[in-house]
Each structure stands twice: as structure tokens, then as C-alpha cells.
């Protein structure tokens, strides 16, 4: 049963399980997001996707990425209040993450070029991370490793490996680095090493070399993980994909 709703005055149809964000995206209506990704479950942390909805005459701001559509819903993505709150939120992030180009870009798109909040006391470690939790969700939900997590409460919150420096369950797949919207996680492959840097720690991982050509084709841990998951014999992974085809 399709649901009718309006976004910025235009009428749309949607499925009951859709969120306002998915409908808006499909319709080409832009809503800024920082903590949303199709790949993982929604979380509602960045609050950039705030939009104004009206239901039975009552207006309020909701997060588009989580709000399920309902019959007769009126959505305004750029109401004055939504814009004002979004701008202050990005201003807060700008002060938190002076080093993130992505945050600066999004701020500029919202017409915010500088922050009214001092950055003097910021520790450089959290320089780019907005704590959107995309990395921890991808690692838990997609990779299935749950190697990193958000630890501590409030302003102490950070992305961390268990006990901060042990790689623990990390299989060095790099999914977290790919999904990170701010570049707070970096991944460098250099020779027989893969170096991943999270906001709270850097770890070197050994790479597996192809028995035939010697290419470092994947991290040892990831290969072991794949062998375990697939139930294939570890020897199946002795050669890089190219040499296996030969």
C-alpha cells in the first residue's frame, strides 16, 4: 500500500517502510547527511539531516534518515528552523574538526565559513573524526568483525580498538577507512605491510604474498578470516587472484 506525502510542497508516493531520506533522495531532493550510508543501519548521530515535518498541525524537527514516512506527512527540508539548527550543528563540528576537509565543505554548502566556537582546547587526536559511527557500524554489520567501537561517554567519546592499541579482531580489510566520510581513518599499503590509522591508534598488518608471483595481495588476517568464513582450505588462498586464474 503506497503512502502519499509531500516534500517541499511536491507530492510523492512511498512504501510504508521508507524513511523520509530515502524518498527525498530518490526524488532528487538534497538533504545533507554525515552519518548515513546505504551499507549500514541508520543511527541518527550527526543530526545534519534534520527536516521539519508537520503532522496533525504540529510541526517539529526530525532526522530524515530515521523518520518513517506516513500518510499525509508534510516535509519541509529547508525550513528556516531546520536550516538554523543544521548550521549551528555544522558550526559545532567545524570547531571540533578543524582538520576535516569534508566538514569544511559541508559547512560551506550551508553557508557557514567560520565557527563562533573556539578551537583552542581541541586535542589534535580527534582532529577529523565527527564520531558518526559509520566505521564501527560497517565493521560490525558488514564485515562482521566488530573490531572497533565507540568508547566512553560525552565529550570523552572516541573510536577505539579494544584497549587502544591491540589490533584484536581487526582483519585489516579497510572497510572502515573506505566508509569514513571525513578521512579520519587512513589506510596505506606499503610493501608487505598495511598500515591503518584510526583516530586512536595505528597498527601495521602483515600482507600475504602470492606463492607464485610474490605480490602482497591481501592482509594475512583477512585471508585467514575468509578461509574461516568460507570453510575453504587455507591453501586455496596461497595464490593471488591473478595467479589462481592461470
Amino acid at each position: 500500500m503506497a503512502i502519499k506525502l509531500t516534500i517541499n510542497g511536491r507530492e510523492f508516493q512511498a512504501e510504508p517502510c521508507d524513511t523520509v531520506l530515502t524518498v527525498a533522495k530518490a526524488a532528487g531532493v538534497y538533504i545533507p547527511t554525515l552519518c548515513h550510508s546505504e551499507a549500514v543501519s541508520d543511527y541518527g548521530a550527526c543530526r545534519m539531516c534534520l527536516v521539519e515535518v508537520e503532522r496533525r498541525g504540529r510541526k517539529r524537527l526530525v532526522t530524515a534518515c530515521l523518520y518513517p514516512v506516513e500518510e499525509g506527512l508534510k516535509v519541509t527540508t529547508d525550513s528556516e528552523k531546520a536550516l538554523r539548527v543544521r548550521r549551528t550543528v555544522i558550526e559545532l563540528l567545524l570547531a571540533r574538526c578543524p582538520g576535516s576537509a569534508a566538514v569544511k565543505e559541508m559547512a560551506a554548502a550551508l553557508g557557514v565559513t567560520e565557527s563562533r566556537f573556539s578551537i583552542a582546547d581541541e586535542n589534535s587526536k580527534s582532529d577529523a573524526c565527527v564520531l558518526c559511527g559509520l566505521c564501527t557500524r560497517v565493521c560490525a554489520e558488514v564485515v562482521g568483525a566488530s573490531a572497533i567501537s565507540l568508547v566512553n561517554r560525552g565529550t570523552e567519546r572516541e573510536v577505539a580498538l579494544p584497549f587502544y592499541n591491540e589490533a584484536g579482531d581487526c582483519i585489516a580489510c579497510g572497510s572502515c577507512a573506505y566508509i569514513c566520510p571525513t578521512g579520519a581513518i587512513s589506510l596505506v599499503d606499503s610493501g608487505n605491510k598495511r598500515i591503518i590509522s584510526w583516530p586512536q591508534g595505528t597498527v601495521d598488518f602483515a600482507m600475504k604474498a602470492c606463492l607464485n608471483c610474490g605480490t602482497n595481495y591481501a592482509p594475512v588476517r583477512q585471508v585467514e578470516f575468509m578461509a574461516r568464513k568460507s570453510g575453504l582450505s587455507p591453501s586455496e588462498f596461497d595464490y593471488c587472484p591473478d595467479c589462481r586464474k592461470l
Binding site: 543511527y43 543530526r47 534534520l50 523518520y67 539548527v85 549551528t88 559545532l92 559511527g133 561517554r153 565529550t155
Partner: protein, 624 residues
Amino acid sequence: MVAEKSGKRLNSASELELLCEEIKRSVSARTRTVTICCGTGCLAYGGTKVAQAFRDEIKSRGLESEVEVKTTGCHGFCERGPLVVIRPENILYQRVKPADIPQVIDETLISGRVIDRLLYTIPGTKEKVTYEHDVPFYKKQMRLVFGANGYIDPTVIEDYIGCGGYAALSKTLFEMKPDEVVDEVKKSGLRGRGGGGFATGAKWQSTREAHGDPKYVICNCDEGDPGAFMDRSLMEGNPHAIIEGMVIAAYAIGAHLGYIYIRNEYPVAVKHAEKAIAQAEAMGLLGENILGSGFSFSVKINRGGGAFVCGESTALMASVEGRVGEPRAKYIHTSEKGLWDQPTVLNNVETLANVPLIINRGAQWYSSIGTANSKGTKIFSLVGKVNNTGLIEVPMGITLEEIVYGIGGGIPKNKKFKAIQTGGPSGGCLPASKLDMPVDFDELTRAGSMMGSGAMIVMDEDNCMVDIARYFLSFLEGESCGKCVPCREGLKRMRQILDRIISGQGQPDDIELLENLSETLTWGALCGLGGGAANPIMSTLRYFREEYEAHIIEKRCPAGVCKPLISYNIINEKCPNCTLCIKACPVGAITGQGKKLPVILDQVKCTKCGACYDVCRLGAVEVR
């Protein structure tokens, strides 16, 4: 007779009724009951020793068959503890020590004389009060929910049954259909006492109607609000009332399992709840086939994670499920998808404790108490600059003035009332002009504060409102879970701005910035913690804006609290060089000039500790 039946399973409504009658008879066979408060407050003043002394003394004199000694939960007037009440007369002795016991027995219990020195004295008039119900603190209260605390031993289920306990449950199971229970609660007008004031009946109905099985009932005994202790006092002092409320809720919505979520810092509440559950199960009032009705419902206890945010409904449920206690968006209500995504009723302790009352005495009676949209009574913890502190239960609609002056006995040391903070850290500060305001959910909200869990903090002229706002804000900053940006980053920035205002570094546009951040939190935060966090600031800006302006523009703290903005000075005309302040000053900032000449205070050396101000009996030290 009673001993024989007690602890045995009850299999019908009439068996419960019979037991209740028997207990009543056996109680009236004794002429006197001595109740000794052993709530957390009175325990701290030595309640257990007093109780033990009573027991020993009564035993050694062979008075056991005439006098019953009973330890109870908190009576509310903790400040004067340990409290001893001799019933049926209700003679109240306060600040009782074990050494007083022989005299109490000789004079009061045997000879019927009242011991003057143990009575409560009204501070102003110095009048002695004999009976509990005449003490001004109790007089204007209406202790419907909380009153039973003074009569029952929370560890003895027979005490509760003897007071008519579990009769509402029996009526529910045998005389009412679930829909009728929901209707009755709806008609009563009961609103949640946990903070939001959501209509309890409506909440039950939507859970009842929600698709999904099993359904759950959760009792929220997290009580994280600083200064609030009503939930603890109810859970410690009358756990069966809460269990009874839970079973009724369960029957109404069709649940068979429930949880009591108690914060870990409440060991006595946990102990009493555990004991109560075991007793109720043994007697067939909880568990399988309750009272032979065919309805089953069990209760488990879950110890809280210790974070304030765990009181928030979704965080609490995550915590019960064994996950990190972090809130999630509630666009789908927990009444539809709550614990393990199943329909769940979450109610506060006090809300549930109201339920048996409504069933017993009817919605019509209940809704005759209170205001148009806030029914019944509310328990508040009254603390701060007020003569009588403690837990009070008053009908909705009572004015703030009656609370502060009538029950609270006014402000100590004849200071001027400045504000009352209601609603806990997310509440607001109301000024003297609001004293005549009737207290109910909507009036408080309209005035920019809220009911919250019911903490009330009275402030006098010596409190700085900017400092107070900062206190609540920094509490919440420390409690924020850190998940969403407005709360995590916004609270930190607001606290930084207040820090600089308080230290004299305030900037002209700081008020505007605070207002902008307040809006961002109110509308942009994910859960109620961030959503309500701006209230202390917004309410103080609304009623005490000039205090902010004095700090920012004049670099002055009108209340004389914010150290960087104040100085201590000697009023020469008043100072005859008594040298008290010279001795009190820890840094030697005050020196004498000789007989009859005023002392000199060196501003450079002064650390603004205030010791001189406190010791000067002639009012010759002033703070500016």
C-alpha cells in the same frame, strides 16, 4: 492463626480477604505500635540502633504482646531523623537516640506521658508539637501514595496485606476485564511521574492494542536526578505497592513478564524488591496462576548501569537487553516496539504505586484530586534553602508558596526567597513572582520549567542564577552519552560560555549565542537529555536576564557568588577591630591598625575564601 496462614499460597480472592481480616485482628490485639523509620536518611542518623534498643527493651520487660515494634521505610521528614512514631496516637519523636528508649517506654508507653524534649519544635514560634499529623511539614500534605510507608515494614508482606494491599489486584483479576482496567486508568487522568507526564492510560492502551507477543512491563527505578529520592523511598518503603501496580498493568496490556530496573546505587531498594518478589510469588500474588485466576506474570530485577541517561526509555531497554545504554530515536513508540522490539509499557515507580489506589477507590475519586489536566498527588523532594527539607506528597494544584512556606517552613536565616528550581537538571528556575502558581504538569511547562521527576530546590538571595544554570548544565555535560552532535558538542560549548561569563570574560553576544545553542539542543538533540538540557539556561535567561547582563557588562556578580567578580571589603564604620577576621583569614590578608580602628583587608593577598565574612558578627565585612 496469622502465622499459620502466612507465607502460604493464596488460591482465591476470598482467601486473600480472609488473611487481611486476620492480620487486622491480630494487630488490634496489641495496644501500641512503635514505628521506627529505617529509611536511608534515618539509618544514617542511627535508625537501626534505635530500633534494636526498642526491641531489646520491650523484650526485657516482657511487653511483646502489647507493643509491636516495627521498622519502616522513609516517612519523608528525614532531616529530623531518626523518627519514632507511636501509634495509634501518632506521637512523633524526632532525633531519637538509643539512650532515650527506656524513658520512652516508661513514660510514654507505660504511663502515657509525652516526653517534651523529643518532640519537634517549630523553629519560628518554638512551639512543641506532639502528634505527627500536627507537624506543619505533614499538615498540608496529602499522603495517599507515600503515607503507607509510615505504617508498614517493607520486608513483611503481611503488613502490606493488612493495610489492604493486593486487594486492587484481586479486584482487577476477578471483577474487571483488561479493557476496563485501561479505561479506569484513563478516566483517572493519571499521568506518568517519571518526567514527561504522558497519559498512563493512553500508553497502556496503545501497548494493549499493539501487535506482537510477548509484551512487557518495565518499572523505571533508575532515578538519576540529583537531589531526587522519591522512587528510592517508595521502592525501599513499600515495594509491594509497586509490584501490585505492575501486575495490574500486565493484566491490562496482556504481559507475562516484567522487569524492575533499579540503579545500582540503591542496594536497599534492590534487597527489598527482591524480598517482596519472593514473598509475593510464594503467596500466589505473583508468578503462575495468580490467586487462582489463571493469569500469570513474573517480575525480574535488573540492576542499572549507573548512567543518568539509562533512565531514558530506549537507553533503559537497551541496557536491559544487555547492550550499551544509549538512546535511539523514538519515532516508533516503545509501546509498539520496546524491549526486544516487542510492545512494552515503561512506567515510573511512583506512577505504578498510584495504580492500586485508582483501582481500589475508583477513577472518579482519584480525578477529584488535582487540577483539570493533572490528577492526583505528586511526591516532591524539597531541598535547598528551606527550613524543612524532605519528601513531601501534595495534591496537584497546590501553590509553590504553600510548598515553600507552608510545608517547607520558609527560608532559613530570614533570607529572601529568590527562585525555586523544579524538574531536575532539565527543569527550570522560577522566580518569586511565580510563587502563587499552582503546581501541575502544564502550568510548570508554561512557566518554562517542568514537573520532571519532582526534585525541588529552593534558592535564596545568596544563590547566583548564572552559577546555578552552569551547575545543571555541567551535570548534563558529564552525563551526555555523546552519541549526537548537538548534545555532545553543544553542551560543552554552552558550559564554556557560562564558564567565561562567570569568570568575568563574558562577551556582549554571549547571551545570543547561548540562545542559539539552546534552540539547537532543544530541536536537534536525539533524546530528552539533550532536548531538555537548555531549560535551566532558558528559564534563568527568561527570569533573571539582568543577572547575566551584570556578569557580562558590569563584570559583577549580584549575588556575590562568582569569585572572580567579587571582592570582600571592610565597612569601616562597623568595624571596632574585634580581630575575629584576622584570626580567621587563612592567608593573612587582614591586619589590625590598633584599638577601635577598623581592620585593613589587602585585596591582593585575599583569596576570596569568605572566612572573614562568615565570622564577622557585626556585619562589618561585605561582599561586593
